[in-house]
């Protein structure tokens, strides 16, 4: 039972939500009208909408190939993230010598931008013979520190007695992770999947450097290529943006409950 009416809060939240959705709406509207974004006065509702800019994007560049490349690279990155981050997150819940130092090292590494490590990353990928390949595209995104801490926070919330019981039952550390911890960390898994997918999906700089053939390019590179091809691009460009954004938005909408739970797990104790 509420002591005060809830509708003013809901009304304000709906208003703010609509405000946040305006840029998305504008991109969507422009993608079906081709209207110049600097047109004045701007039209709120689309005039004579049509889907042909999407058709243009599909045929002007090898969209299907870029899409496939992005899907494969993102899938590799997501699977690797879940596996490696879960292992690292579990390790950080255990007690071992110099654990505070390792935590500090992880946190300090978060402050180093990827651009600063891109040359060694390129050299390592080259030595491994993975340049211009799916594995090479996904390699630097195999693990992210933020997601390791998401798993750590989720695993910290699991009662210690449960792990002890599993150990008494004879489970190895490896099986404790996969049989005991992971089923209890669905929120953390969803968070990892969404973040790894979106980061990999939107990545531009690394694919730009590591790919050599046009067949290995991903969607963000395709967008740059598309811009360099076309002059009058307003409608097609926005259609391309929608086509690139759609999978990430769909994934987020599918897993948003688990995503929020994963981000907030371990935030409160007791």
């Amino acid at each position: 039972m509420y002591r005060y009416p809830r509708w003013p809060i809901h009304l304000a939240l709906v208003g703010v939500s609509l405000l946040m959705l305006i840029p998305f709406y504008w991109v969507l509207k422009t993608s079906v009208t081709g209207e110049n974004i600097f047109a004045y006065p701007p039209s709120i509702l689309p005039k004579s909408p049509h889907p042909f800019y999407y058709v243009d994007v599909w045929y002007y560049i090898p969209f299907a190939r870029y899409f496939l490349n992005s899907v494969v690279v993102s899938a590799i990155a997501v699977i690797a993230n879940v596996v490696f981050n879960a292992m690292a997150g579990y390790a950080l819940t255990r007690d071992f010598p110099a654990k505070p130092f390792v935590l500090l090292l992880f946190l300090s590494c978060m402050m180093v931008p990827f651009q600063a490590t891109i040359i060694p990353a390129y050299l390592i990928t080259g030595r491994l013979g993975l340049l211009d390949s799916y594995w090479g595209l996904a390699l630097p995104q195999f693990s992210t520190i933020v997601c390791i801490f998401v798993f750590k926070a989720s695993f910290d919330a699991v009662p210690r007695s449960l792990i002890d019981a599993a150990r008494i039952d004879g489970l190895s550390e490896w099986r404790i992770i996969w049989r005991v911890m992971m089923p209890l960390a669905k929120g953390a898994i969803a968070t990892n999947v969404i973040l790894a997918f979106i980061w990999s999906w939107n990545n531009f700089l690394w694919p730009l450097i590591v790919t050599r053939s046009a067949d290995m390019q991903t969607l963000p590179l395709g967008l740059a290529r598309f811009l360099s091809y076309q002059e009058d691009t307003t409608g097609a460009l926005y259609a391309f943006c929608i086509m690139v954004l759609a999978p990430g938005i769909l994934l987020f909408l599918l897993a948003q409950n688990e995503f929020i739970r994963g981000l907030t797990s371990g935030a409160t104790k007791g």
Binding site: H50, P51, F52, V55, D56, L250, L254, A255
Partner: protein, 134 residues
């Protein structure tokens, strides 16, 4: 035991959830669309040519332009029959323009035609209207 506590069989939990149903629906829609495209991509463009009075124009030359990167180039020509109908059978583009001409009757405006996929079979709703003969 309440209804909420009844545990569903494993296969139902694995299959009947939004992570499977949504991608499956999208996959079905894509398959249906590809099926439609595969059965309607013969590159056939059908239309009519009429004069300013709305009467069919036989033996008019119809020209098809296709978008080649940034400019339209002539792809093929056809001639109308006695009923003013024309059939073009080798369009392989999704972005075309059509125009008709007949000496003594006039020429039509270049009509842009946008298609949903390459080589889509289409019958024009509006005829090409010849006018402006000198």
């Amino acid at each position: 035991m309440s209804a909420d506590e009844v545990e569903l069989p494993l296969w139902r939990r694995l299959v009947i959830n939004r992570f499977v149903l949504v991608p499956a629906t999208i996959a079905v829609a894509i398959a249906l669309w590809n099926g439609y495209v595969a059965t309607h991509d013969h590159g056939i463009v059908v239309g009519r040519v009429v004069d300013a009075a709305g009467l069919p124009v036989p033996d008019a030359a119809v020209v098809l332009w296709v978008l080649n990167f940034t400019t339209y180039v002539e792809k093929t020509r056809a001639t109308t029959d006695s009923a003013g109908r024309f059939v073009i059978t080798n369009n392989d583009s999704h972005n075309i323009r059509l125009a008709a001409e007949k000496p003594g009757v006039g020429r039509s405006a270049r009509v842009p035609v946008r298609l949903y996929f390459r080589a889509q079979d289409i019958e024009l709703n509006e005829p090409l209207i010849l006018s402006g003969a000198s």
